[in-house]
């Protein structure tokens, strides 16, 4: 088990080890979260006992590589790192327990695209997490230089019955005029836990997309924060989540505008069936220098069974008047009028419900960065729907 003690880290003598060492110290100092904290409210954090897990290296495969991108993999057991990459971690001083744990134990993948380069093929990073009792700390850094373009898909896969925990971090950086598109797909098994974070930074006139499709896991949480640091930058966050059985999906979102004339658009759509649960809490934060900014936040939830539960809490925090903001949130069953409409054409109710639920998600699927994945994801949603099974 690769645990860096302060002594061992110092013996490596590089800034790299200092990153891990200080993260390790912060993780040790951090208190374990409780649901009394707003950001963990409604969560199942109280059920987690980290001591029951063993740190393991993340088994990862990568496809879609080309000359357009540079991919560097550094596992937690590596002793040295290209000094050029240490800059990517120098500013990380989060005191959050899971972020610090990730930094201390991370298996790093850095995907870099050079200035002006367009990577036309999507890069697919697949983590297969089938070690019973393992905890995994993958960290994916997307570093898109000025006016470059890249699309990255990160898949999290495990088998049903495997009790594992993955604590992934995405760190996406879009330099001036860069275009970064990212999609995380949670296809974890029914005993797996995930506590993940997505961070993006958009510099001047950049465009970022953070997309999530969550189907698996026992408890799967993603905190996604899009930060607009340069004027004219634009970001979109979209998610499709669908929990069944006793699953819980948990999303915390942030749209942070810290520069003038920035735009953000968030669309999260979820469904819960059986006795599953979902949580969405989101914040639009507009700093006083972000004049002329536009921010939209929409969260819609379908409750497909009486025992299913969804919570939606949108929030705004605006420090300047010169902005355009809207937020909308709904939780409820399938619209009766829509069902009647389809049934009045002669479509049986089970089929009508399936069509409406799949239609509900289409708005998100249409925005995913990799078109051909949308088709198979749509099929996975259809397969998961318990409505109409055996009809």
């Amino acid at each position: 088990m690769p645990v860096l003690t302060p002594d061992a880290a110092l013996s490596l003598g590089a800034t790299w080890s200092q990153v891990r060492q200080s993260a390790h110290e912060r993780a040790t100092a951090a208190s374990f979260p409780t649901t009394d904290e707003e950001i963990w409210r409604y969560s199942r954090i109280g059920e987690l006992d980290l001591a029951t897990f063993t740190v393991a290296e993340t088994p990862t495969s990568i496809t879609g590589l080309s000359d357009a991108v540079t991919v560097t993999q550094v596992s937690a057991s590596a002793v040295a790192l290209d000094p050029a990459l240490t800059d990517l971690f120098s500013e990380t001083t989060s005191s959050d327990l899971f972020n610090s744990l990730n930094l201390a134990h991370m298996d790093v993948i850095v995907i870099s695209v050079a200035r002006g380069v367009v990577a036309s093929e999507p890069i697919i990073v697949t983590h297969t997490l089938n070690g019973e009792g393992n905890i995994y700390f993958p960290r994916l850094v997307i570093d898109a230089a000025e006016n470059s373009e890249v699309t990255v898909v990160e898949r999290f896969i495990s088998n049903d019955g495997v009790r594992s925990l993955v604590v992934p971090v995405l760190d996406a950086r879009a330099a001036q005029s860069a275009r970064v598109r990212y999609l995380a797909i949670n296809e974890l098994g029914d005993k797996a836990w995930q506590i993940g974070e997505h961070h993006s930074q958009g510099h001047r006139d950049s465009d970022t997309l953070l997309a999530t499709v969550a189907l698996g896991g026992d408890y799967a949480r993603v905190s996604t924060a899009a930060r607009l640091l340069g004027q004219g930058s634009n970001t979109r966050q979209v998610a499709l989540y669908f929990a069944g059985g006793t699953q819980m999906h948990d999303f915390r979102t942030l749209q942070e505008h810290a520069a003038p004339r920035t735009t953000s658009d968030l669309l999260f759509k979820g469904a819960v069936q059986d006795t599953a649960k979902s949580v969405y809490t989101g914040l639009i934060k507009i700093h006083n220098n972000a004049k002329g900014s536009v921010a939209y936040q929409t969260n819609r939830n379908l409750t497909l069974s009486h025992g299913a539960w969804a919570e939606s809490v949108p929030n705004l925090e605006i420090e300047t008047n010169d902005v355009k903001c809207s937020h909308a949130s709904t939780v409820g069953p399938i619209d009766e009028d829509q069902l009647f409409y389809l049934e009045s054409r002669g479509v049986n109710p089970d089929v009508a419900q399936r069509l409406v639920v799949l239609g509900f998600f289409d708005e998100v699927l249409a925005q995913l960065p990799v078109g051909n994945l949308a088709t198979s994801l749509r099929q996975q949603v259809a397969n998961k729907l318990s409505i109409g099974v055996g009809a």
Partner: protein
Amino acid sequence: MSTLEIRDLHASVGNKKILHGVNLKISSGEVHAVMGPNGAGKSTLSAVVLGRKGYSISSGSVLLDGVEMLGLPTWQRAVAGLHLVLQYPTEVPGVMLNDVLSEALKGRGRDGDIARLDTLLKTEAARIHFDEKFLERPLNVDLSGGEKKRNETLQLSILKPLFVILDELDSGLDVDALRDCARRVMDATEQDGLGALVITHYSRVLAELRPSKIHILVKGRIVETGGPELADVLERDGYAAFTPEETVEEASTSDPMGLNLFP
């Protein structure tokens, strides 16, 4: 030859009784109009015949070729041959027209039509000047009022029911769209023997949809049935002429029913 017969139909919404014994019979190829003022129960009648939730039926029958429809779920009534063109067609985000029609045709065992659905859609769309680009839209999403009614008419022409209830076809329709939709319905009555029950407040739509019979529905009862000339009487006198005596006074004080209906 098919018949749709509504017999002594009583229906309520919550505690409010809306239909007080409606009787009506229509055969294949016929066009009948049900005309009435606001609150007469016109929309309730169409909803109850198709089995929409939220209405309770205390007595009566809806018979399609002698088979009781009340008690059947909506989709089975549709498969049996009843169809409703809604006053305000529902937007169903993300659900495509051809998917719905495929499923609807599947329920009717019309595999041949499923196979040639694309061609059918294009042919029928052209017939009513429905822009082909709208075929790729989710159902009714971002369509204008006129396009929604064309979309409804398109579905009607493909599903080919035995009887259709057109609920306020003319609401939200410009003259051109109304003519396109109405002519397609009239063609279906002549070519396919479609029976059409036209539910309307105004007589405007009857210039295109020419009913052989007009039923006047007031306060949940059909108070008069006659030929097309009834529309002229309505045009001249309004609904007041057909309002039951004991309610005239009430109507004139609490509700201007029958006044200014045809400005």
